[in-house]
Symmetry: C2
Subunit: 487 residues, 2 copies
């Protein structure tokens, strides 16, 4: 298979650096390994000494390698490989959301648009193609009938729906634009899906831990949530999924199939196929939240459960909120056999969605602009992930466990000992840093020693310092005030 | 009181024409009355003969006056004054929405973005300031932090919220921007309001007839609807409102206080004050749909129920969907004491709303652009209303009754005899025209001899012809095929 990074850049030194970085990420080159000498590098790749040096400088500035005087370049040591957390094991009791005042208080201070990006699950604005989107928006006012000032069709902007279908086809998912309805972001798509298949008092099954947005939505709709054991690498436990689907009170199942939030798990194709099989056997609609699928670090985009769905039982939801423009609120759903119900819900709750932002995103997807942007974004995220791994290994205590996301924006940490990340969160706030406490990702009293970190940020000294402060707080929570004083 | 049309135009002939038009609309000049001679007009206003002639030409082209050879100009005759329908008298039984397949079929063919603007309740795109909005949108990408690509605050764009509060203040409604939450259009605001104050199975009281969007929303939320007797001029019957609020199953009351859809009724200030008093006495939240308030034909904008609300029991909803940009989906709500609940619902269902379109609208409201546009829009609508009155008097049968809206976009017709507007609707479709059948505006089997017409369109021969076809169909429904053949 072709190396996805090979064509990333027109600069030879960046291509060489990317190849070496890939070997480090693959563990082909391990911490402490000596890198080829500059002379060898020149010979192997047929490049000049300057180019070779630039490649090593680039890797060094990304803190992947280090120069040792009189000796050469080495893969940066001290990147302890932290173990991954074990699969979760929540209680098999469906719970109503929203009773925990403490959790509510933390939700509030998490604040959207707040000053604590480490706690959020979206990319920083510096990683988004703002100027290019503005240009596309201007173009959309010219190309769109009525400039988007008049009502769009209920199903949404057709150009965008065609692009969503085209991209789905590229991952073996046979959709037409007629199967797709646009929404106000992925969450709004999920909201309509839940409303279409479940009623107040019903139970829905989800992975555990799960993004608190999913729990809040269930709360708003009066749904009970059955949390399912989930592996940090492969996602939901299929036996638990089957047991849930057998239950008559479970009216739907929600899976974040690719690079789940917060675990970063990605269901293998075989699991996806099985999950769809179970949904068909027990006739339980499978709502698939696939909003992170485009942010993969592997060779290609992972498939969706939808791509294994012949019967229309999968409601596939996505958006560009994690890759292009969270603030545009552009998402979509291919609701399968529930399409009419979802379309009616959209009509009844909001008539239609804004066409101008959808047209803008459609134009972006049509050309190579989206792929170009994704390539850069993935590279930045992958490099960040590496840096976070190193920093957490450096600053956090022994016994810290760390998820190994193969895509997406978030890391899941399980801390050693009796750490309570809710109280730690208050201390972190005082130190002007943040994270999302693990307790938020469940309705049960669990994950109190866990936290989620966002690595979709611009890596700089301040960010490294934030991670250092967090690590110190975890090591010595009693010294919280001291850290905040030294800021 | 100053004539609102006085400063409408820099052209003297248009100012003169507007003054005369006002006199016709006021019935100071009546159908058949002779207008002053050109010489008299010149003397009275101190204008040239050319200017006087231009004023009369303008009124003539608007079909308000006609020239009679050798005699002079006359107010156009044939504008029979049709009687207004009586107040409605629906059954006092709360009904569940959405069981009527026939109605559902008509809903579908009403189609948003369809080719039958007469059946819709929004202004035609030609009446909207598309180019100016495009310019404002471009400006917004420059002025808005992150160009609106990143998440906005949960409450919504602050600049827009300040403008909404400022405009509310101008009608004696003391709001600050902190009282306002932006939404995806007015319907989305109403959706959150209903969710905040009522649960599946509860009953909500509304005017009757009422915009079918309200009924559909209630259906989507599993709410029962109690329809209240309503006067085409003054809106909901206050005794009926009180009786409804006394009922323990009625959890909320929805009123379209200004220029209701479809009746065009406007609650007098005293009624608004009483309605708020009742809401307080019986502690039943009053959801106020005030999306048409800016489109008034009188001297000033009517007040809202919210402006009489001291206790926060009124949830005031509005938008620019009827005046600026339906497709932008920009609306808002001042939810009073339910603000926290509404904010949470918005967060849980869609996180935030698109900032870029809200910023665009905010910029429009800040300057005089909105008022300028409104002035033109109101003038066009008022002229259209006059033309519709005339055309309906000309083409529809005796016994037709007609609402007398003092603002908004829609006319309500009650037809004589056993007319069934549902079956008439099919015939109108075949003749490539349309209307909204009265049956859609109730959950009970009533208003079958009524129809709603949109006059927010560009008046031209085609539109007049559509009204003529409709009138002929009403007179001779059996000849439907013949009319469609002659198209």
């Amino acid at each position: 298979m072709k190396n996805p990074l090979e064509k990333r850049s027109v600069f030879v030194y960046l291509r060489i650096a990317a190849l070496i970085e890939q070997q480090i990420l693959d563990n082909t080159l391990r911490a402490g390994d000596k890198l080829p000498s500059l002379r060898t590098l020149c010979r192997e790749y047929g490049i000049s000494q300057n180019t070779a040096l630039s490649a090593y400088y680039h890797l060094e500035s990304n803190m992947l390698i280090e120069a040792r005087p009189q000796s050469g370049y080495y893969v940066r040591s001290g990147t302890r490989k932290l173990p991954a957390p074990a699969a979760s094991n929540p209680a098999g009791v469906a719970a109503h959301a929203g009773t925990d005042q403490l959790v509510a208080r933390v939700y509030d201070s998490l604040g959207l648009g707040g000053h604590l990006p480490l706690s959020l699950g979206t990319p920083a604005k510096e990683l988004l193609p703002v100027a290019k989107l503005n240009k596309a928006l201007l173009q959309a006012t010219r190309e769109l009938s009525g400039s988007g000032v008049v009502y769009d069709k209920n199903d949404g902007n057709e150009r965008l729906r065609r692009q969503v279908a085209r991209r789905a086809l590229a991952m073996d998912c046979g959709l037409s634009h007629q199967d797709v309805i646009t929404t106000s972001g992925c969450l709004n798509a999920l909201s309509y899906c839940f409303m279409a298949v479940a009623e107040k008092g019903d139970t829905v099954a989800m992975e555990s831990p799960v993004s608190f947005g999913m729990l809040q939505l269930a709360q708003a709709l009066g749904l009970k949530v059955l949390e399912l054991p989930t592996d940090p690498a492969t996602g939901v436990d299929l036996n638990a999924l089957e047991a849930a689907m057998k239950r008559t009170d479970v009216k739907a199942c929600l899976l974040i199939s690719n690079f789940s939030n917060p675990l970063g798990s990605c269901m293998p194709d075989a699991h996806k196929r099985s999950a769809v099989g179970l949904a068909n056997r027990y006739q339980v609609p499978l709502i698939e939240n696939d909003l992170n699928g485009d942010v993969y670090f592997g060779a290609h985009r992972p498939r969706s459960c939808k791509s294994f769905d012949d019967s229309g039982i999968v409601l596939w939801c996505g958006s560009v909120s994690k890759t292009l423009a969270p603030g545009y609120r552009v998402g979509w759903v291919a609701p399968g056999r529930f399409k009419e119900a979802v379309a009616r819900l959209k009509l009844y709750h909001t008539i239609s969605s804004p066409a101008i932002t959808q047209e803008t995103i459609a134009a972006f997807l049509e050309t190579g602009r989206y792929e170009n942007h994704l390539r850069k974004l993935r590279h930045t995220l992958q490099a960040n992930l590496h840096r976070y791994n190193r920093a957490i290994a450096d600053y956090f205590p022994d016994g810290t466990m760390l998820s190994r996301p193969q895509g997406g924006f978030v890391l899941w940490l399980q801390l050693p000992g009796p750490t309570d990340t809710i109280s730690l969160y208050e201390k972190a706030l005082a130190c002007k840093t943040g994270f999302a406490p693990g307790r938020l990702f469940s309705l049960q009293n669990q994950y109190n020693n866990c936290m989620r970190l966002n690595y979709g940020l611009v890596w700089d000294e301040k960010l490294e310092n934030s991670l250092k402060i967090l690590g110190n707080l975890v090591r010595h929570p009693e010294r919280g005030n001291q850290y905040s004083r030294t800021l």
